[in-house]
Symmetry: C2
Subunit: 218 residues, 2 copies
């Protein structure tokens, strides 16, 4: 979960500053990519001082993680249609729409591309994914309570499976995924969950959700 | 499938040249990444002329695609244990071992990272994936003949599902995946296939396997 001064959201000037910084980060990532985005450029673009950014977010990667966490929370509503298949389908379609959103898609792709080789970018992306997965496990918990899933189903693993299949198509296989990819990913995740292939088990190192901090850029 | 002069394999000097070029490509990708790899550097490293490379492979991306196709074919044996679960598990473990192989992992990651944002790199990667998927559909066809899978199961989609889950963990979530990730990916793909969630259907644009050529670098 995200924490620290960056997530406190008082109204007024602070909220406006925060919104300006968030927008500046997205725009810088879109124009210059992960490697070309700096605190200096973000500060100039948002019309604030670098000191303000460092005081609130400590580092560029802290800021990026906060921006990604905000995107993760803002853009995907939690579906609740009353059955697992429909809910996962609605979620998958939202994920596709979100990663293809022209306002953020280039910024997002720049972080994914960097994450393949750069531990700091990977950490930013992991936090984004963790927030999104945590927000969506409700779908699985509800389905489990309705008796649609075997006991011990790993809610996070179901959501990650769906996400993984969409991200793979978008970022690695390189198809811009449409509704068919979303529906396919939802069907695979639902079938695997119903069959008990996504049961909770002790994991030696649960990288996605508890990985300790990686090297940061200042 | 890969074709063209680069895949003809006569013995003797031609075969030695080919091996030297393949090795030079991997080493250049490892050291300089996709963006830093050029025909000039590969030729110098392999001790041949740029003309030889252009004559055989036409372009750097043609050469990269051929290297990737060779890697795809060389490094993964097709398992045949007599049941779908075991075969997919063996395949998934081979995929993990292959992408983590220190001799090629950095070169491979450089292409995946580039593919997120660069259509030419994505095309190279798609060809690699197409070769690998095609080589492994035998596993699914055999399982279908044994009656383990519903009629109409899309063999390629089963293999892609398994691959997607591993690549996501490795390249996007950023865990170096171990045997647990391999076994989990195999279990999900098997369960989804058995449940009929991976049935063949008409696809509007089958991007992974029939995508037309993207812009190339010369």
């Amino acid at each position: 979960m995200v924490e620290g001064p960056g997530t406190v959201r008082p109204g007024g000037r602070t909220a406006r500053t925060r919104a300006a910084v968030m927008r500046a980060v997205i725009d810088e990532l879109t124009e210059h990519g992960y490697r070309g985005t700096t605190v200096e450029r973000v500060a100039a673009r948002a019309g604030i001082s670098k000191t303000t950014i460092y005081r609130r977010w400590r580092s560029l990667d802290g800021l990026l993680a906060d921006v990604m966490a905000e995107l993760a929370q803002q853009r995907i509503p939690v579906p609740d249609a009353g059955d697992l298949g429909s809910d996962l389908r609605a979620l998958a379609r939202s994920v596709v729409a979100s990663v293809r959103d022209p306002a953020i898609s280039a910024a997002f792709a720049s972080i994914v591309a960097a994450a393949v080789q750069d531990p700091a970018a990977r950490d930013v992306l992991s936090r984004f994914l963790a927030v999104r997965v945590a927000a969506m496990t409700t779908i699985i918990d509800r389905a489990a309570r309705r008796g649609e899933l075997p006991p011990g189903t790993d809610a996070a693993a179901v959501i990650e499976t769906l996400t993984a299949l969409i991200y793979y198509r978008l970022f690695i296989a390189g198809d811009p995924p449409g509704q068919d990819v979303a529906d396919g990913a939802a069907a695979i995740a639902a079938a695997a969950a119903r069959a008990g292939a996504l049961a909770r088990k002790p994991r030696s190192g649960d990288g996605l959700r508890t990985r300790p901090g990686s090297p940061r850029r200042a």
